[in-house]
Amino acid sequence: MLFINGLSVLLLYQLMGEVTVRWLGLPVPGPVLAMIMLFISLVIKGSTPSALQSSANTILSHLSLLFIPAGVGIMVHFERLQNEWLPISIAVLLSTVITLVFSATVMLLMNKMFNLSKKPTEDMPLNKSLDQLQKELIEKESDHG
């Protein structure tokens, strides 16, 4: 029953998203707008209702199953891949390697800059370093055994 209640909520939000997108003529996909609406509702409410939690857990844990039919659709585009496999593969391989290192480095740098400009104190939780967060989380985890 919980699962069905949660699913109804998700579908209701999707409907609201789709209707709003059409109504305002937005180019954004309806489900994405619905996701933002749900996120804002949760922030306002302050907690996740257990019904929503249970259906979300169930459908998100089997997320990758849903991509298969779309993935099989690639066989309709075999010819395109045959003609363009070289630029496509180079694009994917190169951009993935560079961005992995690049975005990790940016995150590290941003963190260092924060620490140089402002000393983290208890009054400024927003500027606490990521290292501290990591330690806190590890401590928290070990507290729970």
Partner: protein, 235 residues
Amino acid sequence: MMHWQAALSGIWQSPYLGLLLTLMSFQAGLVLFKRSGSKPWLHPVLVSAASLCAIILLTDLSYERYFESANFLNQILGPVIVALAIPLYENINLLKRYWFAFVVSNVVGGGVTIFMAVAIVYLGQGSDVSVNTMWTKSITTAIAIDLAPGIGGVAALAAALVMFTGVFGAMIAPSLLRLFRINHAAAQGTALGVCAHAVGTARALEMGSVQGAFAALSMCFMALLCALLLPFMLS
């Protein structure tokens, strides 16, 4: 007297055949994935989609008939995208504290990966459809296939590109991060989420809970950013 042939053709003609084959091949893929010690290149979606392609090519089951039957899975992607709001909300405390470093590395990192991929395909004389689809390369599949047709791309190609990117990213991330001595949990997680979305998030969860949380957050954030910006930029 038994009617073997009638029974067999009954199975073959069933409207549920495509759905059943998808579920079974996915389960077989999951078993294979676990037995192999979670090798990213044996990702269940890859194994399952490849074996379904083989079945469709080798038998008289047509792609149209398969898709009609398995379309149900495609249709429930909508509520699944809506459900992504929940993990995003659950991690809101991490986001509140580190929003600045997080947002900057997502926007800059995501921008670099997408523009670079699009530029390479464009310069390599790829077709317009491939160039347009390339924009969706680093967003999680659910949103990529929803977005691709609206910006002049193709959903199936988007699904394949996203999968390829995710599997490759998850495969090389550990050794690449070691090579560049990035041993910061939050940075590792963010990088995996930006580049390799859902597959990367699964990999990040294996590295630790902080990595997992940041990867999930990056995945949702990137998807949201692209879904909001790309349609305005390209249509």
